[in-house]
């Protein structure tokens, strides 16, 4: 069950024992059935945007200190400490591990798929590429950025 926050999308709300506010996964959650007013949702959405800007600005300072033009993972983690959100650092590192593994898996899956497409008739391979276009477009953008950094 999720809670929609305007402008940001779904924010997962876990089911958990309501005496503590921490789920088994260590995430902060609201107890089951709590009503978030419309005004509160809108405020949370704005707060999140401000957080992103603050975090980005802070991370950018670290990048500049390191004489780099591209923000990297370390910059964001340093920013969290600077902003006094040290509690986020450990769960962020864990999530990053999983994310990197996922991305690596996707990349390899695409390489195999490309090889397969090349070996089939041209018409058929064009069809497959069109279906995946939407999913792949964002990934390709992401990969472009990665390549620039390397």
């Amino acid at each position: 069950m999720g809670n929609r926050i305007e402008g940001l999308g779904e924010v997962q709300v876990d089911n958990v024992d309501s005496s503590s506010h921490v789920s088994e996964a260590g995430r902060f959650i609201l107890p089951d059935g709590v009503n978030i007013s419309k005004e509160a949702r809108s405020a949370i959405s704005r707060a999140a945007s401000v957080f992103v800007l603050y975090a980005t600005s802070c991370a950018n300072n670290f990048a500049m200190k390191g004489k780099r033009k591209t923000l990297n993972a370390g910059d964001v983690l340093s920013a969290m400490e600077e902003m006094e959100f040290q509690r986020f650092v450990a769960p962020l590192k864990e999530s990053l591990e999983v994310y990197r593994r996922e991305q690596k898996g996707k990349k390899e899956a695409r390489k195999d798929k490309d090889k397969k497409a090349d070996s089939e008739e041209q018409d058929k391979s064009r069809e497959e590429e069109n279906d995946d276009d939407d999913e792949r477009m964002e990934e390709e953008e992401q990969n472009d950025e990665e390549e620039v950094d390397n």
């Binding site: 940001l8 999140a48 591209t70 990297n72 993972a73 910059d75 964001v76 990053l96 994310y99 996922e102």
Partner: protein, 130 residues
């Protein structure tokens, strides 16, 4: 891919738009984008649960704007939100505040005028004296 079992619930594209709106930022590596999105998710959860725990909304099993605004004002960690989550007061209270300020201002002006009159009297006396 779809929404099932996603690693982060906020859309990366939206987060990226906000990050890019920052003028000093030139480019963002993919890991940094992911971490910022994930951190924002943690932040939203933290803000919501903290506000709920310390606020009065829970008396009615709700999280209210007032709870959030209170957090921004009282808790140092969230003080950077104070400007965008201002406290709300009733319009009638605000109007009363304005009136009071105006009255206080007028009393001050009267005092200044009294002082000026005294000075003029003294000047007149001196002239008469010589």
């Amino acid at each position: 891919s779809g929404g099932e079992n996603r690693l982060v619930s906020l859309p990366l594209s939206r987060i990226r738009v906000i990050m890019k709106s920052s003028p000093e930022v030139s480019s963002i590596n993919q890991d940094a984008l992911f971490l910022t999105a994930k951190a924002t998710e943690l932040f939203v959860q933290y803000l919501a649960t903290y506000s709920y725990k310390h606020g009065r909304g829970k008396e009615k099993n709700a999280l209210t704007y007032s709870d959030l605004s209170h957090t921004a004002e009282e808790c140092e960690t969230f003080q950077f939100l104070a400007d965008i989550l201002p406290k709300k007061i009733l319009a009638s209270k605000y109007l009363k505040m304005l009136e009071k300020e105006k009255r206080d201002g007028e009393v001050g002006e009267d005092n200044e005028e009294d002082e000026e009159e005294e000075d003029e009297d003294e000047a007149v006396d001196e002239d008469v004296g010589s």
